[in-house]
């Protein structure tokens, strides 16, 4: 399994307004960050998970 950091590409906005990033294996990770732009690449740490998706925190833009 991968470690603390993961790269994600931010590709969509959910209907609730959150940003959705994708890990390298297309796992969706919800990013509740205000300053990110769609299309940006970021390093994230996975802080939580549901059966449906991951919940992440942005560490820095890559």
């Amino acid at each position: 399994m991968w470690g603390l950091w993961a790269g994600a590409v931010v590709s969509r906005r959910s209907f609730r307004g959150s940003l959705i990033g994708r890990l390298f294996n297309y796992k969706p990770i919800v990013l509740n960050e205000g300053g990110l732009e769609l299309g940006s690449e970021v390093y994230v740490v996975v802080r939580g998970a549901t059966f449906f998706d991951l919940r992440g925190e942005v560490l820095k833009a890559s």
Binding site: W2, G3, V9, Y26, K27, L38, E41, R47, G48, L54
Partner: protein, 382 residues
């Protein structure tokens, strides 16, 4: 003329809407976001399940009331126009019908003084425009498939396999990347069948390799649904492509049932063990891969033992994502004429399987949380 669009259903439908919008703009029309500003309304329909069909009819009736007496045109496009024109003609005689194979004729439909019916024909594959939303783009690489599944009405709506030539796909990917897309979704009813109608053999891996070679930029390709029997023919080549840094380590492989007997009734072209072998091989060669699947519960012929095998399959294969559908009768399909599973039974099985899916999904996704120092660490994964 000002044209308003509503689009329902799958990625192929969204891509078709994108193509229709381009056609209309090239003929001097304007696309508007508000129905009150429109002279014509295009509804790109979906009828994959019974609830989709009922939703379409309800919405079309609402629109008819909204448009009544306004002189505005109603144009019904999408799978319902092809698969159920009789239903639409019965309820909406004043509407024009444009099948997915006739999307390039949308201009004629909008401009015609009388309702038109463009149903027959095959899809032209020389024109394609990506559907870009946010930073992701959906690019249809083919329409139709080579299967003949008992439950599938999409097979009626998009009957023939028609692959877009590589140069058309590459042009669309360039257009999407230039428009800011970083996620490129290659979609089809069966991406694994791509190219069989062009060169006599499946050529999805070649297509992806060509895209990577021809389209510069920072983007990642997601390969859409492919049938297991299609993948069997080129799994080694596909695994090689999955190892490319610009390709998501992801596959969408619909199992549909864990019971060989139900798979046979469904006219799927594989057994559970064959499907399982594919999953094992993919995970052996690409350990980080995530695997999504589709499952139908309550298909005609599914008994309790069959259903238990499906539950067992979900636990055994540990899918990252399961798209679960409760079977519903679709007209003009083989399964519609079979003895049906009772609705309460289907509903119960759907609930039971949902619990299993959530249980498995939670276990898989929890493993991502705080997995410090086990593997890639700070290594960049893109």
């Amino acid at each position: 003329m000002r044209v308003y669009f509503e689009t329902y259903g799958c990625a192929l439908n969204r891509a078709d809407t994108s193509i229709m919008k381009h056609v209309l703009i090239s003929r001097g029309h304007e696309i508007v976001d508000n129905i009150s500003e429109a002279d014509a309304v295009v509804v790109n329909t979906c009828t994959v399940r019974l609830d989709s069909e009922l939703r379409m009819i309800k919405r079309l009736k609402e629109l008819r009331e909204t448009l009544r007496g306004s002189g505005k045109k109603l144009i019904i496009a999408g799978c319902m126009a092809k698969a159920q024109p009789y239903t639409l003609r019965k309820f909406f005689p004043e509407a024009s019908l444009v099948s997915p194979q006739n999307i390039l004729r949308i201009g004629e439909a909008v401009e015609s003084a009388e309702p038109v019916t463009f149903i027959s024909g095959v899809r032209p594959t020389h024109v394609m425009h990506p559907y870009v939303e946010g930073a992701s783009a959906e690019i249809p690489v083919a329409e139709g498939c080579l299967g003949d599944c008992s439950f599938c009405i999409v097979k009626v709506a998009r009957r023939n396999l028609r692959s877009y030539p590589p140069e058309v796909v590459i042009r669309a990917v360039k257009e999407a990347v230039n428009a800011g897309a970083v996620e490129i979704d290659l979609t089809a009813q069966d991406t694994g069948a791509y190219g069989i109608d062009l060169g006599g053999k499946p050529s999805l891996p070649d297509l992806i390799a060509e895209i990577i070679e021809e389209v510069p930029g920072r983007y990642f390709i997601r390969v859409g649904m492919m049938n297991p029997d299609s993948l069997q023919g080129f799994i080694d080549e596909f695994i090689d492509v999955l190892k490319e840094s610009r390709v998501f380590k992801y596959v969408h492989l619909p199992l549909q049932s864990g019971s060989d007997e139900v798979l046979r009734i469904m006219r799927r072209k594989y057994t559970y063990d064959e499907f399982k072998s594919l999953v094992i091989e993919l995970r052996r060669k690409v350990p980080e891969i995530s695997i999504a699947t589709d499952i139908i519960v309550g298909h005609p012929g599914e008994g309790e033992e069959d259903f238990e095998l499906t539950k067992k399959a979900v636990r055994e294969l540990m899918f990252d994502k399961v798209h679960l559908a409760q079977y519903s009768v679709r007209p003009r399909t083989l399964a519609a004429a079979m003895p049906q599973v009772h609705e309460p039974v289907k509903k119960r099985r759907s609930s039971e399987l949902t619990e299993v899916i959530e249980e498995v999904g939670t276990v898989i996704n929890q493993a991502y949380v705080g997995a410090v120092g086990r593997g890639r660490g700070k290594q960049e994964v893109f």
